[in-house]
């Protein structure tokens, strides 16, 4: 029985989520994308870096389903390899931002007073730091690496999350059920974990699904600055920015990476909406 006490939330959520067709479709597409990303080397006969200058940019054909880029590389292969970077950046950086942001915001909002003021001023200061300068600074100090990129993106994205969570917590803190939890004798951490954070999940999930695409595009900006990945490696963001340059001559170089990214974003949004509803017992009905 004590087990059910712990596990009913996740169980209920799953049951509710399964009823939501759009969310399930989103989930399936995302899983498919991850599977493809993992098994890419075995799924494609082409290499992402071997150039075929004789072929050049060719439109979609039987041999190259999504065409080739100006250097004659198979676009589909490059998108598949790109998804490895993009999905990893998208998820890892977002999870980093989520963890720091939710914890920081929840603590600041819950503690209030001076602690809140100091914590939020730190957020304000980091906000005020120009992103580009911040990145260049990191590069000068640490040099280039993928890890640094996660750190940089995480360091920027958690700020908004912290603010959102803090505002939520401040309103939840006023509710009588928090006082009721205090009268039971729960410690602050137990209250935050069991009563405060679950009630902030709605906005957090929505903001998370908005953060992931942000991060994926941010990666291409960082790569452009020289911090992210470098050619001949690829990512969705990079492919799209190259595609934009050659949009008029070779439109497929923009269209296919664009479709892939959009598909991922739609799936994420559907899944996010579904999760929010499934986690809120007031919306989901038995």
């Amino acid at each position: 029985m004590i087990r059910t006490y712990k596990s009913t939330l996740s169980g209920d959520t799953w049951v509710q989520l399964k009823k939501n067709k759009a969310a399930m479709l989103g989930l399936i597409i995302l899983i498919l994308m991850i599977v493809i990303a993992v098994f890419t080397p075995w799924l494609t006969p082409y290499s992402y870096e071997t150039q075929n200058l004789a072929l050049g940019a060719s439109p979609p054909s039987m041999a190259h389903w999504m065409g080739t880029d100006v250097l004659g590389r198979d676009l589909m292969t490059r998108i598949m390899y790109g998804s490895r970077v993009s999905l990893m950046v998208g998820f890892v950086a977002t999870i980093v931002a989520l963890c720091i942001g939710v914890l920081w915001g929840a603590l600041a909002g819950y503690l209030g007073g001076r602690a809140d003021m100091i914590m939020m001023r730190i957020v304000d200061i980091l906000y005020a730091l120009p992103f580009t300068i911040f990145i260049i600074l990191l590069m000068v100090i640490f040099g280039r690496s993928m890890l640094l990129m996660f750190a940089a993106i995480g360091a920027v994205e958690w700020l908004t999350m912290a603010r959102i969570v803090r505002a939520q917590v401040q309103s939840i803190k006023q509710q009588a059920f928090i006082e009721a939890a205090r009268t039971i004798g729960l410690s602050d951490l137990e209250i935050i974990r069991r009563h405060v954070i679950p009630n902030t999940l709605g906005p957090v999930i929505i903001y998370t699904t908005l953060t992931i695409p942000n991060v994926i595009l941010l990666e291409s900006f960082l790569s452009f600055l020289g911090l992210g990945i470098q050619p001949p490696n690829s990512s969705w963001g990079l492919l799209i920015s190259y595609g934009v340059e050659t949009m008029e001559e070779y439109p497929w170089l923009l269209i296919f990476p664009g479709i892939t990214l959009s598909l991922a974003l739609f799936s994420l949004n559907f899944l996010g909406d579904g999760l929010r509803d499934a986690m809120d017992p007031r919306i989901s009905k038995n």
């Binding site: 029985m1 004590i2 059910t4 006490y5 009913t8 939330l9 509710q175 009588a176 059920f177 006082e179 009721a180 939890a181 205090r182 009268t183 039971i184 004798g185 729960l186 410690s187 069991r194 009563h195 679950p198 009630n199 986690m279 809120d280 017992p281 007031r282």
Partner: protein, 542 residues
């Protein structure tokens, strides 16, 4: 007498995804010239929807008037276009609402708001309009109306705001006034003044009034005729005095019986040698009022609880009564150590609570629990009833080795809930059921003291009676000491052995309940008692 409004076979249904809700189900009534008609019923009985249907104010398209007619001066209100209705609404039929603070625009001066109402329906402009506004404000008892028309709503007190609302409703000289719970948000003394005002205006202006309320005392005091509504139907109607003295319908009787009357059934006398459980000495809790500006500089203090000393013996119920803003809830939260008092000591069971460390205070909390006013807010919406009740049990791993599920079932039995309800979430329960869950949570860890802060004020009268019975039963069964806080004198009298009267942060009078009710010493207690209505159906029949 002429019928000013004649309603026949009114049906208003709500079409929801869960099906059709018959909010108003075939009601017919009429109101005569210069009459006050009361509509009584519990929440959800359809009394407000009925009146909103007449005024074209129901939320469309989810609600729909299925049939009926409402003849007002030869026009059928239900068949009017929105344009025609607008000419009647606010000019010939006016409304006043429950909460004056949300009905007035906070960014507009009172004078401007009233003038606007006037401009909508009359040709009065400029000086003439202002004069009309000033005379109407004077009529509803606002002093120095020439100056006050320049004030904003928040500069008025709750009672004064309601007077402004009444002025706004009356300024166009309506023939019919619909008052929807106009005194519910007000304290007893203010309530009495507003009722007197409404009655006076009705006589001087020869108004007809439909007065909606859930409060039988108010209805009994002000209305000539009354309709009792239940589940969208009128179950009984007739002359007010007659209905209240010899009601025929079962539901009316149930409503009347539900009002707590008289003293506590088995009071615990002070002579019995009891141990003092809780001792407050010179407790003060102040709220700092900050001056404006970036640097939070302390300016002054609001003395919410001002030098209070009290004691509660084990097994005894202390009632604390006072109007809103008197500091009752702050006192409760100071005792619970949810707020740390500035000065004074709280001695509970021999322990000085403020002296305890955070950690030992948390374990000491087991012995004193609290029930909150609003059962809609005091339960975490994301936890099932089972989890809500299991939380305190797991926290203290109650000594006996019963599995938690067993204990939860026992708790549900104790508070009169079914076992299957443990799987439900709070929003799936009614207000009364939620308050039962909150009570179960409070008694789960077998405390010695329970502080109940207005535990029934958010509930309907029949539910209120059930919850009061439950609290009485549990306090006897577990020999619980209880601090019962309420603004409602009759409820406090029904529940408490001892009573303390609170006014502006101070205890003005304390003693045995019956002695205080029979011979109030302090002038404030006397005015409180005189403001409370004596139920006419009891004084007359007794």
């Amino acid at each position: 007498m002429d019928k000013i409004l004649n309603v026949q076979n009114l049906r208003t249904y709500f079409h929801t995804r869960a099906g059709i809700i018959k909010a108003v189900d075939d009601i017919s009534f009429c109101i005569h010239d210069g009459e006050i008609l009361g509509i009584v019923g519990e929440s959800g009985s359809g009394k407000t929807v009925a009146c909103h249907s007449l005024m074209g104010l129901i939320p469309q398209p989810s609600a729909k008037i299925e049939s009926g007619s409402a003849i007002f001066d030869q026009t059928d209100l239900l068949k009017c276009t929105e344009k025609q209705l607008r000419r009647i609404r606010g000019k010939r039929i006016s409304m006043i609402f429950q909460d004056p603070m949300t009905s007035l625009n906070p960014y507009m001066r009172i004078g401007t708001q009233l003038t606007e109402a006037l401009k909508q329906h009359t040709d009065l402009r400029g000086k003439a309009a202002t004069d009309q506004v000033i005379t109407t404000l004077e009529e509803v008892g606002i002093t120095e109306p020439e100056k006050r028309i320049r004030d904003y709503p928040h500069q008025f007190s709750g009672g004064m705001q309601q007077r402004v609302m009444i002025a706004m409703a009356l300024i166009t000289g309506p023939e019919l006034l619909i008052a929807d719970e106009p005194t519910t948000a007000l304290d007893a003394t203010l309530q009495k003044q507003i009722l007197e005002l409404i009655k006076k205006l009705q006589q001087t202006r020869k108004l007809s009034i439909i007065f909606i309320s859930h409060d039988l005392n108010v209805i009994a005091n002000i209305t000539d005729r009354v309709l009792i509504m239940q589940k969208g139907k009128i179950v009984e109607s007739g002359d007010t005095a007659e209905i209240f003295q010899k009601s025929k319908h079962r539901y009316t009787k149930k409503l009347l019986d539900a009002i707590p009357t008289g003293a506590k059934q088995h009071p615990i006398s002070t002579k019995e040698n009891q141990q003092t459980l809780l001792e407050l000495s010179n407790i003060s809790t102040y709220f700092p009022v900050y001056s404006e500006g970036m640097l939070l500089r302390k300016k002054s203090f609001l003395k919410a609880v001002d030098n209070i000393s009290l004691s509660v013996k084990s097994g005894e119920t202390l009632g604390i009564v006072g109007e809103s803003g008197s500091g009752k809830s702050t006192l409760a939260r100071s005792i619970m150590q949810l707020l740390r008092p500035r000065t004074g000591t709280v001695l509970f069971n021999g322990m000085e609570l403020q002296a305890l460390s955070e950690k030992s205070l948390r374990s000491a909390r087991r012995d004193f629990q609290m029930i909150f006013q609003n059962p809609y807010a005091s339960l975490n919406p994301r936890m099932t009833v089972f989890k809500i009740l299991a939380e305190p049990l797991l926290k203290y791993k109650t000594a006996n080795n019963n599995p938690v599920s067993e204990e939860v079932s026992q708790l549900l039995d104790k508070v009169g809930l079914e076992h299957y309800q443990s799987r439900k979430y709070p929003h799936e329960l009614s207000g009364g059921q939620r308050q039962r869950v909150a009570i179960a949570r409070a008694i789960a860890v077998r405390p010695k003291l329970i502080i109940a802060d207005e535990p029934v004020s958010a509930l309907d009268v029949t539910i209120q009676a059930q919850i009061l019975e439950l609290l009485l039963k549990l306090s006897q069964e577990y020999k619980l000491a209880m601090i019962f806080i309420s603004h409602d004198l009759s409820v406090v009298r029904y529940m408490s052995d001892q009573v303390a009267v609170m006014h502006q942060g101070k205890i003005v009078e304390t003693g045995e309940t019956e002695k205080i009710f029979a011979h109030p010493q302090h002038s404030y207690t006397q005015s409180l008692l005189s403001a409370a209505h004596t139920p006419i159906w009891q004084t007359n029949t007794a």
